[in-house]
């Protein structure tokens, strides 16, 4: 029963908004009634207008996130495991990290142009940090005893990497990757607004400019839905990959 409380609260908010709009307390050109937003969403999906932006945003977000994860894990392994990475690479990363990704986007436009590659690049720059930092920590905090096990078994470096280092860092990598995917969605929308070459960001921008308010809110709803669904999917992947972990509650 308890798990439904959250949904009941949302339903109450929607009902309240419906009431406020019906009474004409808010100008519907700024805030449409929930039923109008829902109608725009349904007709957009039925007519097929919304599928292309959804697919584009999903593709941008996944391409950017996967690239960010690959880059983050490789750099994280270098910095976390090697003196070279710590001495040479880490300072540069420390300098780049506080730069807001949105500030990088205009440089992306200039260097790459208005296209998908620019959008993906901006997403990578914005979303790489959580997975990178988590990887650095994950690789640096390996159980020292396991390094000795690796030495006494005389594992080759490649085998040690796959059998010991990566699985040992995996819980932290996944935790970082989950934060990164949320950032990837944010950056996808921001970059799409800037590039105006399609995607839900572009859709939102166009809807706002032409006062198609219900469509604007329908787009926002879809972006939120994408966030919720990708998070749920990653939760499942995490539970599967970390199935060896003892339940924390036993302590």
């Amino acid at each position: 029963m308890r798990r439904w409380y959250g949904l009941m609260f949302i339903a109450a908010l929607v009902a309240l908004a419906e009431l406020v709009c019906a009474r004409g307390l808010i100008w519907s050109a700024i805030f449409p009634a929930p039923h109008a937003t829902l109608a725009a969403l349904v007709s957009g999906l039925a007519a097929g207008d919304l599928w292309a932006p959804i697919a584009a945003t999903l593709a941008h977000m996944l391409a950017g996130w996967i690239s960010a994860c690959a880059l983050g894990v490789v750099l994280g392994a270098l910095v976390g495991m090697t003196a070279f990475g710590r001495d040479y690479i880490a300072p540069t990363l420390e300098f780049l990290r506080p730069l807001p990704a949105a500030a990088i986007a205009p440089i992306g436009l200039l260097l790459i142009g208005r296209n998908d590659a620019m959008i993906v690049a901006v997403i990578v720059f914005g979303a790489v940090w959580p997975v990178l930092l988590a990887s650095v920590h994950g690789f640096a905090s390996i159980e020292p005893r396991l390094k000795e096990v690796s030495r006494t078994l005389q594992l080759t470096p490649v085998r040690a990497l796959w059998a010991i280092w990566i699985p040992s860092a995996l819980p932290e990598i996944i935790a970082g990757a989950r934060i990164s995917i949320a950032l990837a969605l944010i950056m996808a929308v921001v970059a799409e607004i800037l590039a105006s070459t399609g995607g839900l960001g572009d859709w939102l921008n166009l809807a706002e400019r032409s006062y198609r308010t219900p469509e604007l809110y329908a787009g926002v709803l879809l972006v939120g839905l994408l966030g919720v669904l990708t998070n749920l999917a990653l939760e499942r992947v995490e539970a599967y990959l970390l199935r060896w972990k003892p339940p924390a509650a036993t302590f």
Partner: protein
């Protein structure tokens, strides 16, 4: 002299600890430790804390290099771990891969030796049977008790098919009943193979019960205080062996040596 040479040929030294000393900056941990292990022997090493037992074992495993003297396996000096010398750590909960099942943990040693995947199932089944883990093959370490986890580590070490098995207080963290059961299983494994065993413990009775030979270390710095032969009949028995007058005599001797300081 001739007689000694004959003995050398019959039972050659497999691991040779030669005047090993260890210093960390100004602190001397071990001084001039010198003994040789005969192939197939079961040697217990006892000593008070701070006598460098673990440091000595790590030097024998090639995990740390002594600051003076050397450790030799057969004819070569040990500076790095050797595939013929396996080690079982006391902290099984940190020495196993928590993300691999029992089967997977044992397989790690086979992978390290580049044994064909097709041979893994039969070899693993055999090892599981020898350490009594057959029912737990697909469990993760976190699902097992301490005694079972330590069996996994022993099985992984055996999968290396080592000539020398070094054990650092392997049963130190286990309860008395589990400990006795594992002692007997270890003796069975030892008698079924020709593996040379080196067993560090702070439990005097365990040292006598298991070993053919006990090396007693004293502390500050760690050095050999005595080297005692144990002439108790095998197979050993948890009750009768421990009640044997020779067992008690050695226990008295060890107690005297270790409480002298």
């Amino acid at each position: 002299m001739l007689f000694e040479n004959v003995l050398d040929v019959l039972a050659p030294a497999v691991l040779d600890v030669r005047h090993v000393g260890m210093r960390y900056e100004s602190r001397e941990v071990m001084r001039d430790i010198h003994f040789a292990l005969t192939a197939g022997d079961f040697v217990s090493i006892v000593g008070p804390s701070g006598c460098g037992k673990t440091t000595l074992l790590r030097a024998m495993a090639g995990l740390t290099e002594p600051t003076s003297g050397s450790v030799r396996f057969k004819d070569r000096e040990i500076r790095e771990p050797q595939s013929e010398v396996a080690i079982v750590f006391q902290d099984y909960n940190r020495a196993l891969l928590p993300w691999r099942t029992v089967r997977g943990n044992i397989a790690l040693a086979l992978e390290a030796r580049r044994i064909a995947r097709s041979e893994h199932p039969a070899r693993i089944a055999d090892l599981l049977r020898r350490v009594g883990l057959t029912r737990h093959a697909d469990h993760y370490p976190a699902q097992l008790s301490g005694g079972l986890q330590q069996r996994v580590q022993i099985a992984r070490a055996l999968a290396q098919e080592p000539q020398v098995l070094l054990m650092d207080e392997p049963f130190g963290a286990l309860d008395a009943i589990t400990r006795q059961r594992l002692q007997d299983e270890l003796l069975e494994i030892w008698s079924a193979t020709s593996t040379t065993m080196v067993f560090i413990t702070h439990d005097l009775e365990e040292a006598i019960y298991l070993g053919n030979r006990i090396i007693v270390l004293e502390a500050n710095p760690g050095r050999v205080a005595a080297d005692i032969r144990v002439d108790l009949a095998r197979p050993r028995h948890q009750l009768t062996t421990r009640e044997d007058s020779r067992f008690l005599a050695i226990r008295h001797q060890l107690f005297g040596l270790l409480s002298a300081e």
